[in-house]
């Protein structure tokens, strides 16, 4: 009856070309993302290559100096330090940018302007619309953030043992920028931003909501991270100034002869008679420390990323359920 003059395709139904329009509508965001990844990657390569080499050379000059006047390239050392710090922060900010975009632009603006409804009244179901909107950015976000974290790890390890002031592996920013946590956090931010965009239905509110959510997810990760893998315990003689073992410390103190753990009065080595008397009165026999040594880097990173990815999966499920609940899918 209808559509006599329409070129009706009688074969199996063609699926709507949604991805093409997602790219077209978010072209500025796509170019910005590519720009950010390219610029930061280039900067990290520069950091791990020429900057590290120059700084290492300056440190060699400095360490070769005697007690007299010393000529070394101070500028190279500070340039490396500044570049390292800024680039580490830049890698850590990426998940926030992703969440803000996902909430504000990807979903929030479409809900606010009603263009989401426009898409849903074409031949595209809301579920399919959302799936495309989450899957395509997720691939790009994971690839881009993954590349940045990889290059950051490479740039950091290039300075190890060559630059005296290289950040230790357990330094807060370095630890997070060196592994897959930023990737997982960016994906969580994408899903969280989309959920907030769907709930808030307003662009600005969803943008702010996406940022707050990512800050919350990251804070929670930081609190949980040291507990996600069993700690190692070092026991050190009281002859030392304190417990040994470098890394992420959870607790430290004194061990009594009965094996009880008591607080460290921070007296120092028992070479001092005063401290020896104190330790004797406390019945302390050694220092102890519960901590994560460097070998725990990967288990901790993978566990924290895993927890974040589970959160991302739950949020994705929640977005789909909410959309299904609201619209006929």
């Amino acid at each position: 009856m209808t559509a006599l003059s329409v070129s009706v395709n009688t074969g199996h139904p063609t699926s709507p070309r949604l991805l093409r329009w997602l790219v077209r509508l978010h072209r500025p965001a796509l170019w910005s993302w590519l720009g950010i990844v390219v610029v930061l990657s280039g900067a990290l390569l520069w950091l791990g290559g020429p900057l590290t080499d120059a700084s290492a050379a300056a440190w060699r000059q400095f360490n070769a100096c005697g007690m007299g006047t010393c000529h070394y390239d101070q500028d190279s050392i500070t340039r490396y330090k500044d570049a390292y710090n800024y680039l580490t922060y830049a890698v850590l900010v990426v998940p926030f940018a992703v969440a803000a975009w996902a909430g504000g632009s990807l979903v929030g603006r479409e809900m606010e302007s009603g263009t989401a409804q426009l898409a849903w009244t074409q031949g595209v179901s809301p579920t399919r619309w959302l799936a495309t909107k989450l899957a395509a950015p997720a691939v790009l976000v994971a690839a881009g953030t993954g590349l940045l974290a990889l290059l950051h790890h490479w740039a950091w390890s290039a300075g190890e043992g060559r630059i005296d002031t290289t950040k230790p592996w357990s330094s807060f920013e370095t630890f997070y920028a060196n592994g897959p946590v930023p990737v997982a956090l960016a994906l969580t931010g994408l899903a969280g931003g989309a959920l907030i965009g769907l709930i808030a239905r307003r662009s600005l509110a969803a943008l702010v909501g996406g940022l707050c959510f990512t800050a919350f997810a990251w804070s929670a990760t930081q609190l949980a991270m040291p507990h996600l893998w069993p700690t190692a315990t070092s026991v050190t003689s009281l002859r030392h100034n304190g417990p040994s073992g470098a890394g992420i410390t959870l607790s430290s103190g004194l061990l009594t002869s009965g094996g009880d753990r008591i607080a460290d009065p921070y007296c120092g080595s028992d070479l001092s008679l005063q401290c020896k008397d104190l330790y004797t009165s406390l019945d302390a026999v050694s220092f102890y420390k519960d901590y994560h040594p460097e070998s725990h880097f990967w288990p901790l990173q993978l566990m924290a990323s895993g927890v974040l990815l589970v959160l991302a999966a739950l949020l994705t499920l929640a977005v789909f359920r909410l959309l299904k609940h609201r619209t006929a899918s």
Binding site: V6, P16, S113, L118, A119, W120, G123, A328, S329
Partner: protein, 301 residues
Amino acid sequence: MTDTAGLAMEAADLGRRFGRARLSPAWALRGCAFQLPAGRVCAVVGHNGAGKSTLLALAAGLLVPTEGTIRVLGTDPASARARVGFVSQEKPLYPQLTIAETLRMGADLNPDHWDAATGERIVADGDLDPKSRIRALSGGQRTRVALALALAKRPDLLLLDEPMADLDPLARHELMGVLMSQAAQHGTTIVMSSHVVAELEGSCDHLLLIGAGRVRLSGEIDDVLTAHARLSGPAGTPLAPHTVIESRTTGRQLTALVRKSGPLPTDLHPATPSLEELVLGYLRNPGTSVTTTSPSEKAAA
């Protein structure tokens, strides 16, 4: 059992509530039941906020009912998505796209049932440059693009929420003509909401009157009109057993709009009301009980 095959839209006990159930339940629509035969041009009339937009959004599958059911084209709104066109009141379009891109997007998102020529013609009739961006268009021009997008989809059911609101009279007349020829050529069922009754008289053949979230009146306009009468005569004349929709006494003169049941008293000079009189009579008196004429009599004919 009613024959549901010939129905474009069918609602049973349809209700939609906004807001939290316990805190501030606000029913936009409740207890709606009606049937709309296919091939009709149906006017959805009611106050602002009566529930017209909610009803159309439910039919388009943009909302789900809180209670009851709505079926379109013999199936649920989700399954009918590809065969239903919808233009919402705000006419949302992507501001960064050009008109040509907007239509190309329509083609890509509606594979297998896209009539590019129709969309291009509607745009061209409005003297619009396909290369201009949506954000540069006026409200009326945007409406034209939104209608082009909906019509090029060649839908079996076209849902239009206040489609003509921001069009000048000339464009309104012309686009109404486009819609009517679409309905006539392809048998498209058109459901359009409006609170300007005059706009609908003459082009619509079916009426769905919504007041305070309920269907007050539904049926073929001719049937609905002949089922009512405008009466005028001496005050105090008993109007029973007819249902009084509206009555007014000025001095010794009584004028009333009634829904007939049985023969009318001839001393009251019965006359068939105009559509506008009828609609306004109902809208002015929201307390009158719900009356629904069966559309299936005509559907079966």
